[in-house]
């Protein structure tokens, strides 16, 4: 996927470049609004990461230019200003999503992935059964099994496991999990997600030799089969 990052803060732009490249994207950088606008309109990109405060033209100006030329190019806005008006203004002018600095990189990656999928998956049948190693989930009957043994999960635990399984291999932050599973759209300062994951792990992994649910310290959780096959 080709991404354009329009960000004037060099250190942040470099780390975005590094992180996104390592996750399989081709990344171009623009350090001011004018260059960003030229690249966004002239180049072929699947997604634009756009900072609000930019020299030259600010992010809203760039966004306007992009929307005038390319109506369907997904734009993810980044800003240090957590003002509601800003957020509303960005979304009203056609931004597809909005992230407030400081943000976790895993969070950014998840949003980028979601926006890119949104562009592609139109019409694709969502799977009703998910598998990973000896784990299988039937989304319709809400059954979770490992080695054909039924796992006794609560509704939320099932939802949590389904999300981790659908996004297998991706690190999901606590914030993302709280948002997607429990619809809690705020940074909770307690260890609630941690406890929930621990309880899921007790049912999912503890009785079995191969562990699937892994903690990535400081970043979140990932569901993957790490056993050498």
């Amino acid at each position: 996927m080709r991404l354009l990052v329009i960000e004037d803060e060099v250190k942040l732009a470099q780390y975005l470049y590094k992180g996104l490249s390592e996750n399989g994207h081709v990344v171009d950088l623009a350090h001011d609004g004018i260059e960003g606008r030229r690249l966004a309109i002239g180049g072929e990109y699947d997604l634009v990461l756009l900072d609000v405060m930019l020299p030259g033209i600010d992010g809203f100006g760039v966004l306007q230019a992009i929307r005038a030329e390319k109506r369907h190019l997904p734009v993810l806005m980044l800003t240090a200003r957590d003002r509601v008006e800003d957020r509303v203004r960005g979304l009203e002018q056609g931004a597809d999503d909005y992230l407030v600095k400081p943000f976790a990189f895993s969070e950014l990656l998840a949003r980028v992935g979601a926006l890119l999928r949104r562009g592609q998956q139109v019409g694709a049948q969502p799977a009703t059964e998910l598998h990973l190693a000896d784990l299988s989930l039937d989304l319709l009957s809400r059954r979770a099994e490992r080695r054909s043994e039924r796992l006794d999960l609560t509704a939320k635990e099932f939802k949590l496991l389904a999300l981790l399984l659908r996004r297998r291999g991706q690190i999901l932050s606590r914030t993302t999990l709280a948002e997607q599973v429990w619809d809690m759209n705020f940074d909770s300062d307690t260890n609630i997600v941690e406890v929930a994951v621990r309880r899921l792990r007790a049912k999912l992994d503890d009785p079995f030799p191969t562990k699937l649910l892994h903690t990535v310290r400081g970043m979140g959780y990932v569901l993957e089969d790490r056993a050498p096959s």
């Binding site: 509601v84 400081p102 509704a155 429990w182 909770s188 300062d189 307690t190 609630i192 406890v195 929930a196």
Partner: protein, 450 residues
């Protein structure tokens, strides 16, 4: 100040008051003087008329007597001999047929005088042809008119002088009465951030100034409290940031001080990341609080069931509640347009708190009910557990306030802004905070305006 009368315009109360009082005094005294002058003038005029009538009577009597004794000749003789007694008057006597019998020579003074008065009368004289005489007696009253004029001038002068005296006197008195204001200004000037505890005091309490001074002092009390709180908050923020920063710097320095295996470096980075995320959460919470302080209000959506929101939040807390061996119950409901994410956040913070402090095995209750004043809905989370001291209750919602610092923060997850955020969310919904603790039950929550 566009239509400002030059005479009445002044920027000092004393100046304005004394000018107005002076004008007022001059007008009142002027009116009194005018009235007294008028009545005096009328009295003088009446007295003059009486005097003239008496003179006319005397003349008539004398002439009637002379006419009876000696006819026209005797009358004429008497008139001529008496002429000097009428120096300031003029007498003209006519016969019955209108011809002039006698006239006093016209004196210059009388001729020029504008204050003269003529009285005509008839004298019955049977011994004279026609049987009667007509007389015209003119008198000069210039002197009494002049007296009246001088009196009037005196009165005008007295009125003006009284005005001036009142102006000066009033100015002096007013300035004297307003002296405490100058003292208050000096006292106010002396209050600075270093001397915030100072208050205004009146040496001689005046009823008009006292409420002002009391209000000002109350305002200063509130300001001082806010200022002290802000200073403490700044110190707390610095402290909260310094500890993780020190850890980060130290850990990184140690990691870099010698060759490390990739695993060891990864370990350091992961630990640093956790620390930085804690910092980031702290900064985000502080930004949220500062937005609430700036007066940002909640974005209310369509009316929702608060019990349903509470159920969502308790699902989120399901695992931690079970871990702590706690049961949960939701009592009551109300449907209200609220900012859903904010109310969920507040409830989550309250529930987190209750979970940490509840006695294991007890039941945590989320209670939704109309507040005492019925205008608002009250959302309270109730838990069994050690009571909170009464003097701690009002401070529960202060930033970084911890009832028992040793007990709450061993996991480093709770930076002491949770309840401050609840208070901010209540404020954003025009509500207030609620905290009670009695006989082993602690109730902490907030209200929402409908």
């Amino acid at each position: 100040m566009t239509t400002c009368n030059q005479l009445l315009c002044s920027h000092s109360i004393a100046g304005r008051l004394s000018k107005k009082l002076a004008l007022f005094a001059a007008v009142v005294i002027g009116l009194v003087s005018g009235a007294s002058w008028l009545s005096m003038a009328m009295m003088v005029k009446e007295r003059n008329a009486q005097e003239q009538a008496r003179s006319c009577d005397i003349v008539a009597d004398i002439l009637a007597l002379e006419a009876r004794n000696g006819g026209e000749r005797a009358v004429l003789q008497r008139l001529n001999s008496d002429a000097p007694t009428r120096a300031k008057a003029h007498l003209q006597v006519l016969r019955a047929d209108g011809s002039v019998l006698y006239a006093d020579p016209m004196s210059d003074a009388l001729h020029q005088s504008s204050h003269q008065r003529t009285q005509a009368f008839q004298i019955s004289t049977p011994g004279v042809a026609g049987g009667m005489l007509q007389a015209r007696y003119t008198m000069d009253f210039t002197r009494s008119a002049e007296l009246g004029k001088r009196w009037a001038l005196t009165l005008v002068a007295v009125s003006l002088a009284a005005g001036v005296v009142v102006a000066l006197g009033a100015g002096w008195f007013v300035r004297r009465s307003l002296l405490p204001l100058g003292g208050l200004a000096a006292q106010t000037r002396a209050i600075s951030p270093q001397h915030l505890h100072q208050r205004l005091a009146l040496a001689d309490p005046a009823e008009e100034l006292l409420p002002w001074v009391t209000q000002f002092n109350a305002l200063m009390d509130r300001l001082q409290r806010a200022y002290t709180q802000l200073e403490a908050f700044n110190a707390d923020v610095a402290h909260e940031l310094r500890t993780p920063l020190a850890t980060l710097i130290g850990e990184t320095e140690v990691a870099l001080s010698r060759e490390r295996s990739p695993e060891a470096l990864r370990e350091t980075l992961q630990s640093n990341l956790e620390e930085m995320q804690r910092l980031s959460a702290l900064v985000n919470d502080m930004l949220f609080l500062s937005q609430a302080d700036r007066g940002v209000t909640a974005r209310r959506g369509a009316p929702v069931s608060l019990a349903a929101l509470a159920a969502q939040v308790s699902e989120f807390h399901e695992a931690t509640l079970e871990d702590a061996g706690l049961a949960l119950r939701i009592d009551g409901d109300a449907t209200l347009p609220v900012d859903e994410p904010l109310v969920k956040r507040a409830l989550s913070n309250l529930l987190g708190n209750a979970t940490r402090f509840a006695t294991p095995g007890s039941t945590v209750v989320i209670n939704i009910a109309p507040a005492a004043d019925a205008e608002q809905v009250q959302l309270v989370v109730q838990n069994r557990g050690q009571a909170i001291a009464a003097d701690h209750l009002p401070r529960l919602f202060d930033r970084f306030f911890r009832v028992d610092s040793a007990r709450c923060c061993e996991d480093g997850q709770h930076h002491g802004l949770g309840l401050a955020i609840v208070a901010a969310i209540a404020r954003m919904h025009a509500g207030r905070t609620v905290a009670e603790s009695a006989s082993g039950t602690t109730r902490v929550g907030f209200t929402l305006a409908a």
